[in-house]
């Protein structure tokens, strides 16, 4: 942007600590179209002046040298589609954190002004995408979660397509008599509303249902998915705007539970088998068809067991209560006993648990099952129980509350397999081909597990977390997804009970509809919701290195046959990781680019060696490290005045050219501070910090070869609440740099 107006605030102590005339003179020197000083820039009258200057076109953009970009956001809310506005944090990063009147403090302020000016000169307005957007929501899976999603999306006014693998809708709960109560008084089963829901959706004008059908292929992007279905009537193609994956779960394979008697007696059955039995003619002992007198339920059959499913399936306690209540309703004389390790009935499910416990003939006992023996008549041996050691429960039917296994496909694993198979044929050397064959063998189990069949470079299905659930990694954002516009719901999403699956379906439908709305506006979805800038690829200079297509956490980029990235802008989440990955620096956002940051680095003053003042660049993640620094400043903590901060979207957007530029300019050290990586990563773009560490690790090796100290570059992880730590980190780094001595490249 050209013709920049600089607006300097002297309030909040800025005017007292700094020489304002020095800064206005600098603005002139930089070529600012105008420079105004205000004693309180955020006051409505001052903001009106800024707005007038922007609206009248007397300036092309405004640089507000005042407080942090995170402060006074309401006062300085200018439409990003119409105005280029930048902020320089004189208050938090200079006067609140550094001694007033000091020469270093003034130099710091001037540097920040130069850097802010340089950035603003390099950025421009975004042109919002204006694409034709399909409003249909595709729901894959027609069980409780999927049908609830379908109902919700339809009620929100969107056409819906439901694809169900089975011949009938309804999923695993379709035929059960009653559901666990979700309304007061929570003491008895509710009528199963699924059959009604199936009937309503089947006759709904805006809902198309494909039973006995699967997804053959999905290409495109949110708002523009092209879907091919395999249906009994042949191939059907349709368009969809967003997708809810509600493919549910399957019971854990009970044949692996021989120690609980499964397979050795016909009278040991699983909970889903009991549901089928109850729906198909009533409670019967499989061995002789007689009504059993005593039914024993064994909880955690395969769950919470490192040998089987390490997780708690979260549905079995609730499902067992439902089954016990169903049995007592039809057969008041039948006795039931539930053997549990911990009864898990959170919330008001506790009241239902109490009600079921109070029914005559209903026993609950804590214990570990040592074994199940017998054939027709069964003995369930318990240990570690209230009833005493060696307790044996008699039973003529044993029900294993088997855990649930998600009906998911691990898109990343499938892709690793596909790539390895390809490499095992096309690899350049026999060693490479052999290595690829090993990987292919290791990942062979994923072959043919595809569900969504996405035409994505990074794999045909949602990536999964541990245990195969494509869950969100974020507590605050349970619908966060690594494939934009595709939301998991129900028991495929995470272990959950029926009530939660229903809730989850409604929420996922809301997210799907929201994604369609955002696509129509050309806006990003979470976490940079509303951002209209999209990355521009200057493909003439692309070397097909594929780093961008590999590293995008959201599967935004496909590749053509040569490996050139193909942007699917509506999948993009604007993190900038592709921009950081690109060795040719050909990827830029309208308001964030390699060049913009590089120009900020160039704008920094670098003291001569004789001045004995090192210069340090700090690249700070704007979600965690920058707020932590702001809060530290708010509490008037101080840090080394040689540090110059540049906020970045994500550590993963760091392009190593910034490091190279810094060192070749004579900057003495570069520190990157970003979110935590590892299993419990806090990076909202998944791998940003990790990618930065890998890239910087490579740079450090190069430094060593150039006889430069690798300690000049450091990556630090910091959480949002560690504001007390960040000044110390900067100070310690400055001390290290001082000890190492000046960058030998200085002055070259």
């Amino acid at each position: 942007m050209e013709r920049l107006g600089v607006f300097l605030c002297t309030g909040c102590g800025i005017g007292d600590a700094l020489k304002a005339e020095g800064l206005t003179a600098l603005a002139d020197e930089l070529g600012a179209a105008s420079c105004q000083t205000s004693p309180c820039l955020c006051a409505p009258e001052a903001v009106a002046d800024i707005r007038a200057a922007l609206e009248s076109g007397t300036i092309g953009g405004a640089l507000l040298a005042a407080c942090s970009a995170r402060a006074k956001t309401e006062a300085f809310a200018f439409d990003p589609a119409r105005h280029v506005v930048g902020r320089v944090s004189l208050r938090e990063q200079v006067v609140w954190s550094h001694p007033a009147g000091d020469e270093d403090t003034q130099t710091l302020a001037e540097d920040l002004l130069r850097m802010g000016y340089a950035r603003l000169s390099k950025i421009g307005l975004a042109k919002p995408l204006a694409e034709t957007i399909e409003r249909t929501v595709l729901v894959v899976g027609g069980g409780l979660a999927g049908l609830t999603a379908a109902r919700t999306a339809a009620d929100l006014g969107h056409p819906v397509v439901v694809v169900e693998k089975a011949a009938a809708l309804g999923g695993s709960l379709a035929a059960v008599e009653g559901l666990v109560p979700d309304r007061p008084p929570y003491d008895s089963l509710h009528d199963n509303h699924l059959p009604r829901l199936v009937a309503e959706l089947s006759s709904h004008a805006e809902v198309r249902i494909f039973a006995s059908s699967t997804v053959k292929a999905i290409t495109g992007q949110p708002g523009q998915f092209h879907v091919e279905l395999a249906t009994p009537a042949g191939e059907v193609t349709l368009a969809a705007g967003a997708i809810v994956q509600a493919t549910g779960s399957r019971p854990y394979d009970a044949s692996k539970l021989g120690h609980l008697g499964y397979g050795s007696s016909p009278n040991v059955i699983t909970a889903p088998e009991l549901d089928a039995m109850l729906a198909g003619g009533g409670l019967k002992r499989p061995s002789d068809g007689a009504v059993p007198q005593r039914v024993v339920f064994i909880q955690c059959a395969g769950s919470r067991d490192p040998e089987h499913l390490p997780y708690c399936s979260a549905d079995c306690c609730s499902a067992t209560l439902r089954q016990v209540a169903t049995i007592h309703r039809a057969h008041p004389d039948v006795e039931t006993a539930v053997v549990y390790r911990d009864m898990r009935t959170p919330g008001q499910l506790e009241r239902f648990y109490l009600a079921v416990q109070e029914q005559p003939g209903s026993l609950f006992t804590r214990g570990e099952v040592a074994g199940v023996s017998g054939n027709g008549h069964l003995q369930v041996a318990l240990r570690d129980t209230l009833l005493g050691e060696g307790t044996v429960l008699d039973a003529d039917l044993v029900v294993l509350a088997v855990g649930l296994v998600p009906n998911s496909a691990d898109g990343e694993a499938i892709r690793i397999h596909t790539d390895a198979v390809k490499r095992s044929q096309t690899g350049e050397s026999e060693i490479q081909r052999e290595e690829a064959r090993k990987v292919a063998a290791q990942y062979a189990v994923y072959q043919g597990t595809e569900i969504l069949n996405l035409d994505y470079r990074q794999g045909p299905d949602l990536p999964t977390l541990r245990y195969g659930f494509p869950d969100s990694h974020f507590i605050c954002f349970p619908y966060e997804t690594r494939r934009t516009g595709i939301y998991a719901a129900g028991t495929v999403h995470a272990p959950m009970d029926a009530g939660q699956a229903e809730e989850d379906g409604a929420g996922a439908a809301m997210k799907a509809v929201q994604c369609i709305v955002a696509a129509a506006r050309g806006e990003a979805v979470h976490p940079r919701a509303g951002d209209i800038g999209i990355p521009d690829f200057f493909l003439q200079r692309c070397t097909q290195c594929k780093r961008c297509t590999e590293e995008c956490p959201f599967g935004t980029l496909n590749e053509d046959a040569k490996g050139t990235p193909q942007l699917n802008a509506l999948r993009c989440r604007r993190c900038g990781i592709c921009m950081g990955a690109c060795p040719e620096r050909i990827i830029s956002f309208p308001d964030y680019s390699v060049d913009a940051v590089a120009s900020m680095i160039k704008a920094m003053s670098v003291p001569e060696e004789s001045e004995e003042k090192p210069r340090i660049l700090a690249l700070l993640c704007e979600n965690d490290a920058l707020p932590a620094l702001d809060i530290a400043a708010g509490q008037r903590m101080s840090w080394n005045p040689w540090v110059r901060v540049i906020p970045i979207r994500c550590l993963g957007s760091t392009n190593i050219v910034w490091i190279a530029d810094s060192l070749s300019r004579g900057i003495d050290g570069v520190i990157l501070i970003g979110c935590k990586s590892g299993d419990d990563y806090q990076c909202h773009y998944v791998r940003g910090s990790q990618l930065a560490q890998t890239r910087l690790g490579n740079v450090q090796e190069t430094l060593q070869r150039l006889a430069l100290e690798p300690e000049r570059i450091r990556v630090v992880e910091l959480a949002h609440d560690e504001s007390a730590r960040i000044p110390k980190i900067l100070d310690e780094f400055a001390a290290t740099i001082e000890k190492i001595g000046p960058n030998p490249m200085k002055g070259f």
């Binding site: 911990d342 272990p495 809730e503 409604a506 509809v513 979470h526 976490p527």
Partner: protein, 415 residues
């Protein structure tokens, strides 16, 4: 979404559930008014040190949410306001919103000059009254909106030191309450919860010893911005405790107190056991429980904590906690062995449950509630978060997303 968009949704309560409902609806194209009683948003979650099971700070997600609010022109956030009137109108609700007097207005730059000269101290509400702060202050370091707040009733007679110190004309000591009318298409009630008061649990030592605290207090003690600067200390002598006992179901799953399970306390105590062990590796931590409720992948947290040296999980109902000199004596009915166990601790943490706070939902919007006070939805009025049912943060957010959908549907049909 299509259809008429003439009337906004009204979301009452800006904790994690209300913020989520407001944002999910606004990002789907709806106009939303989000009304919050406190001076800043974030409710109870921001008072947690870390979330389970990831042990990450809630302010991180809140940073993203406040960014979403700042970028979204369709949400209007109204803090320090209450819903005080409501009548059904044209299938929606005509709602009266009463704004508390704006003693500190939007001109405030959060420069802090006023705090420095304020002579009055008040109990710090953000820190659950475990510390004192000036009567005029930023509510907490992450406060959003970033405006100071004045507890006017704490001002000494005739004092106007803060007003004199403010160079931005941001303080009006004579400000008055004002009201506005909002025509809402539909409503989401997300008024949250209160901790069950430990004073009602004298048998567990609640209110009888400063060293018997609630889980919510432990969260503040562990937080760097908390009253102890993040140090876990025994309140009576400000020394680190050597033996910490967690009493599960303190008031929950108990018909004399709260009949339901509060759904979060098991995981909260496991998390807090980690806080203790990280700071005080030699401390002995004992968790007394009825059932260990760690559903789903949260099971990992149980496995991890149970394997920690110096952490003991004992199935048993704590029947009595008694201050005895400098220590606390516990009487535990150990179900495992059938015996009564006597134990001692330096610090007892009562894992108290969550009491729904339906607020305006019940009175003004005519919501019915269950026996425990959790709101039961009706057409046009959705309920989200712990005002709806006992649930953890992730479940509250799912619930709030669904509630946003239901409210949008209701508003669409009624508009």
């Amino acid at each position: 979404m299509t259809g008429q968009q003439s009337r906004p949704l009204l979301v009452v309560g800006a904790g994690i559930a209300g913020i989520t409902s407001a944002l999910e609806a606004a990002e789907a194209g709806r106009e939303v008014v989000l009304v919050e009683r406190d001076a800043s948003i974030g409710g109870r979650v921001l008072r947690n040190h870390h979330y389970f099971p990831k042990l990450c700070p809630p302010s991180c997600g809140m940073e993203i949410n406040t960014g979403r609010l700042e970028r979204n022109p369709r949400v209007r956030v109204v803090t320090r306001a209450r819903v005080t009137g409501c009548r059904e109108r044209d299938g929606g609700y005509e709602v009266t919103v009463t704004h508390a007097p704006a003693y500190v207005n939007e001109r405030c730059t959060a420069c802090g000059a006023c705090s420095g000269v304020c002579p009055a101290k008040v109990k710090d509400a953000f820190n659950l009254e475990m510390a004192e702060v000036p009567a005029i202050r930023l509510p907490h370091p992450n406060a959003w909106p970033k405006l100071f707040v004045l507890d006017r009733q704490a001002c000494p007679d005739g004092c106007h030191a803060c007003k004199d110190a403010c160079t931005y004309d941001a303080i009006d000591l004579d400000a008055e309450e004002r009201t506005e009318t909002v025509q809402a298409g539909a409503v989401v009630i997300a008024t949250g919860w209160d901790p069950y008061p430990i004073e009602r649990l004298p048998e567990l030592g609640g209110g009888l010893s400063p060293d018997v605290i609630a889980n919510v207090h432990m969260e503040r003690m562990a937080a760097p911005a908390g009253p102890t600067g993040g140090k876990i200390l025994r309140p009576s002598d400000q020394q680190p405790p050597k033996r910490v006992a967690f009493v599960q179901c303190a008031g929950s799953r108990d018909v004399n107190h709260l009949a339901y399970c509060s759904a979060v306390c098991c995981l909260a105590s496991l998390k807090q056991a980690i806080y203790v062990k990280e700071q005080l590796p030699d401390a002995e931590v004992t968790i007394y429980y009825i059932d260990r409720r760690t559903p789903g992948r949260n099971e990992e947290m149980l496995t991890k904590v149970a394997a920690m040296e110096g952490v003991h999980l004992i199935k048993g109902k704590v029947a009595k906690v008694e201050p005895r000199g400098r220590v606390l004596a516990l009487r535990v009915e150990d179900v495992e062995s059938g015996r009564i166990v006597h134990a001692e601790a330096d610090l007892v943490v009562l894992a108290t449950g969550m009491v729904p706070s339906l607020g305006a939902g019940a009175g003004l919007f005519g919501l019915s509630s269950d026996d425990d006070g959790f709101g039961v939805e009706k057409p046009g009025v959705a309920v989200a978060g712990v005002a709806h049912r006992p649930e953890d943060v992730a479940a509250s957010v799912r619930d709030a997303t669904g509630a946003a959908a239901r409210a949008c549907i209701a508003a669409g049909r009624r508009a």
